[in-house]
């Protein structure tokens, strides 16, 4: 079983990223996947996150207490998850927005996802940059499958941007590995 | 002269008197008898006075009057 949480501020595309990841793992890689989202009633405020639980067989564990991989796009979000973050295996942060990382037992990957995405086209693609980074970090998450999913998920004019975002994110962690 | 028949279904009548009031030629009068709901239904006083305006048909709330002619 593998547990991934993608968190940030509402509006940063954490749910979208979780959906892409879940779809890729379920439909392209054949895993059993449950993806859930948590958000408040407000559209553009508060913590929003997406949980993806992955296994080889039918899944009844829907809740992530402590993820194996934690992807964070916002400083306040990480601050609120300090205790959880200290226990994760891999912590991948968008270092263009998350400057301060407290101690964690796991490995920390600082990926300037916002800046990378902005250099491609728009900082909005930072969520996809982090997905690419996750593919670089996790042996189970396949980059090619993510690419296939991104191609299906986005309208045509955004496909190239997001494919590049994926790849740049992937390369960013390879350098650090 | 056409024959004018004013049919009154006394058991549909609730005795409101609107037909009598709205007849421009005073063709109708209230009955002395009561129908089965204790209402004074209209009776035809003089059918030949009727000018076939059919206001009684139109204004009767209970579909109790039919004018032929």
């Amino acid at each position: 079983m593998m547990k991934i949480r993608i968190g940030g501020w509402a509006g940063q595309g954490t749910v979208r990223a979780g959906t892409i990841l879940g779809k890729s793992l379920a439909l392209e890689q054949g895993y059993h996947v449950v993806q859930q989202r948590s958000y408040s009633a407000a559209v553009r405020s508060g913590i929003a996150y997406s949980d993806v639980v992955v296994d080889h067989e039918g899944l009844d564990e829907l809740v992530i207490e402590c993820p194996d991989h934690l992807l964070v796009l916002y400083q306040d979000t990480l601050d609120q998850w300090e205790e959880m973050a200290s226990k994760v295996e891999h912590l991948i942060v968008d270092s263009s927005r998350v400057g301060r990382v407290e101690k964690t037992s796991g490995r920390v990957y600082k990926v300037p996802a916002g800046r990378i995405a902005e250099n491609i086209a728009t900082s909005k693609a930072a969520n996809v940059v982090l997905l690419g980074a996750l593919a670089g970090v996790s042996a189970e998450v396949d980059l090619n499958c993510l690419e296939k999913t991104v191609k299906k998920e986005f309208p045509e004019k955004y496909v190239d941007i997001n494919v590049e975002a994926l790849k740049k994110g992937y390369e960013a962690v390879l350098e650090k590995r | 002269m056409t024959k004018k028949i004013i049919k009154i279904d006394r058991d549909l009548c609730k005795g409101c008197g609107i037909c009598i009031e709205y007849c421009p030629k005073d063709v109708l009068v209230g009955s002395d008898d009561l129908n089965r709901y204790d209402n004074h239904f209209p009776e035809v006083l003089c059918a030949q006075r009727c000018i076939l305006c059919r206001r009684c048909e139109l204004y009767c709330p209970d579909f109790a009057i039919e004018v032929e002619g």
């Binding site: 879940g22 779809k23 439909l27 993806q35 564990e61 | -």
Partner: protein
Amino acid sequence: MMDAGEYFLEGNIACAEAAMKAGCLFYAGYPITPASEVMNHLSKELPKVGGRFVQMEDEIASIASVIGSSWTGLKSMTATSGPGFSLMQENLGYAVMTETPCVVVNVQRAGPSTGQATKPGTGDVMQARFGSQGDYEIIALSPNSVQEMFDLTVRSFALSERYRVPVILLADAGVGHMRERVKIPEEVEIVDRKKPSSGEKEFFDTSEEDHVPPMPNFGEGHELLVTGSTHLGDGSRDTASFSAQDRLVRRLVAKIEDNKRDIEDWEERDADAELVVVSYGSMSRPARGAVKKAREKGHDVGFFRPKTMWPSPEERLKEIGEGSKVLLAELSLRGYRMEVERCVDDLYVYDRLNSLPTVDEVYEKILEVLR
């Protein structure tokens, strides 16, 4: 409408797709978290299959127009959540009384009142059964996965058409907002309401064993009398006589009660164990996981999950309660509890608000009960 195949979908989207697959041609609704996705999706897709979509001014109007539509012969649906479900109660009773097939989806959220709109809860279980005034029985189905959001939506339409009743799909935000792999089959079970044969005039009474009279459409020349007041077999109102009230209401109740065997459905595993965990909806997922873990660790624990909340599988619950301790795990304090209490002597409860537990949290409770 999606082709047959495998998809990774949100529960609410699976529900919307299932409705179209089941032949739904009319949707009326009003926005509410966490059910809006059903409506959002159908607003886009339903017209493409010839269906009519309309967003109404509130939930009362939504269910009213759904009932109106059903009388023209269309399979019709609305979806809502707690506050909207409360507003629908009067017309839900109207649908029961007039024997109007329709599907009402309630993606339950944490209440009471506005509560927490995005958080799951199952506090509407009793409301689904008793929320409208007077004596009646109703069918309410409880999905626990995205696949079941699809399958039980299809079944809701089938049951509502078969028995001429409103059917409630009693989901919760957990399954409504969850994404999972779902298989959309080529064919689904489609049931069409019983139509009258020519010359037939009794559309509100029957001596048939299933208690279901035939249902004509508006515009077919039957000069129909459809009323929520007590009525005779031809639909004419009878607001006073003993016999009219007695005959009608007893038949409406019998329609569910006597067809229970066909309607009832549940999932069970080792339901003769020392302890049986009873759970439903999204909560039944970690509960089932915990039972599995307990068995792997050598504990004698079973699992029972009603898929039909109403009519409640009370006989089976009573059988289980006779031989086993029961642990009810639910996402509310008062959801299904009174119904289980009624059937089971040795009852323990794991109740929870706002969010699902982990498998381990339920497992700990199982161990506590076993000790």
